[in-house]
Symmetry: C7
Subunit: 94 residues, 7 copies
Amino acid sequence: MTIKPLGDRVVIKMVEAEETTKSGIILAGSAKEKPQVAQVLAVGPGGLVEGKEVQMQVKVNDKVLISKYAGTEVKIDGEELIIVRQSDILAIVE
Amino acid sequence: MTIKPLGDRVVIKMVEAEETTKSGIILAGSAKEKPQVAQVLAVGPGGLVEGKEVQMQVKVNDKVLISKYAGTEVKIDGEELIIVRQSDILAIVE
Amino acid sequence: MTIKPLGDRVVIKMVEAEETTKSGIILAGSAKEKPQVAQVLAVGPGGLVEGKEVQMQVKVNDKVLISKYAGTEVKIDGEELIIVRQSDILAIVE
Amino acid sequence: MTIKPLGDRVVIKMVEAEETTKSGIILAGSAKEKPQVAQVLAVGPGGLVEGKEVQMQVKVNDKVLISKYAGTEVKIDGEELIIVRQSDILAIVE
Amino acid sequence: MTIKPLGDRVVIKMVEAEETTKSGIILAGSAKEKPQVAQVLAVGPGGLVEGKEVQMQVKVNDKVLISKYAGTEVKIDGEELIIVRQSDILAIVE
Amino acid sequence: MTIKPLGDRVVIKMVEAEETTKSGIILAGSAKEKPQVAQVLAVGPGGLVEGKEVQMQVKVNDKVLISKYAGTEVKIDGEELIIVRQSDILAIVE
Amino acid sequence: MTIKPLGDRVVIKMVEAEETTKSGIILAGSAKEKPQVAQVLAVGPGGLVEGKEVQMQVKVNDKVLISKYAGTEVKIDGEELIIVRQSDILAIVE
């Protein structure tokens, strides 16, 4: 079963804290907007979104920082996923 | 009797919870914005909506996730339907 | 005496509840935004509305669903009419 | 003495209630936004208004419905006038 | 000493009440937004203002109605002046 | 040490009150938005600012009126400076 | 490990107060929006951001003034970084 996000939406899965530490990223716990590392699972086609051209800059498997606990949670085939807009993604980490 | 939605509007029918489980999707019950699985019954023509070009990305019979209990309920020929804008649709599920 | 609506405005007349039932449409009474069935009496020319191009999609005699008790009521030659913008119209019913 | 309205502004004069009745229009008195019948005295040139192209659709002597007690009152040569934007005008009545 | 307003700004000087009466204009004193008659002293070049093309429609020495006590007061060489945007000007009176 | 403002930003230095009086400008002390005379020290390149084309209309050494105590104060090499957007500048005085 | 900011985002690192003093910049401590000097570590590609073309004006190693404690803090490989949008950057200092 697959999810095909519409427009500039991106399906992501939060990366576990342990995995985060290994990768060298420790997020500031006291920040009001907690950024989080997530992995990209599916990417919308972009194109015209609310009348504005959007080019998708992330791709499947990218590790990304999201600006806060943004988007909508869904549970699919037992996995907890989040659907965000690309504009909620701050950066790609490598 | 038929409904022809205007602009970027889409007529959907919520999929029953049982059917949702079978398809492998379980929605997070505690989320503030509860996404829901629905089936598309009718799709507006898109085109200029509030002066912006909208291309319709869903089609009749698509299963879709909607971001919340969006739109306006109508009861037609005994069926409870909802009219949403396409931008309220998060993703197509297959 | 006639009313010629400006821009994207549409003159409608609510369809009586009895007539609504006959046509097979029963509106959800508890919904916060009650959609209503109305008949189109006059349609503005569209064109540039607040600087945006609007194409009129409804025509005289269409039965339409409106999203709520939108628009401005007027009483002309004894008839109670409502002037709405086309964007307040959800769908055409046939 | 004359008033030349700027942009999409229109100078109107409310039509007396008695005159309104004669013409067959009775306005719903309980409506929150009371529409009113007025006569157009002067029309701005339209053109670029806040960066958007506006085409004037009313002309001098038109009878118009305005959406509420919109605009700014002025008293010129003893006459009470109102200056509204064209977008405050709902319809032309004939 | 001169003031050269930027963009769509206009430097005006309120016309005294006595002079206003002579010219036949009496402003409604109870209106919440009191329109006022002023004389134009300097006019900005127009052009791109906040990314939108503005064409100046008033010129030096025009008598104008302004929608309310808009703009910013300055006192230059003993004269009390006001700097408004052209969109605060309702009409030119002649 | 130099400051190169970005976009439509302008670095200004308030002109002392004494100097202001000499130049013939006396600002209305009771006005809620106190305009102030300042001298331009550095001007951003303009160009695309938030997707809109901005053309810079002020240049270094211009005396300008600013609409209020706008912008952000910085102290550089002992001088108190203010960084404003060009749209906060009302007029150039000569 | 690297961070590649998306769109018009910029990764910066605040410059220590001691370093700030040496460079001759002393920030006004009482200002409500405290500007701060930071060093640019990574710059997004710009391009279409929310449908608007953005050209990046800062580059890696620039010293910049930011308008307030803007953006989102992240801690990467032991360093505290901040991700801001370019529009939060007031000026480049040299």
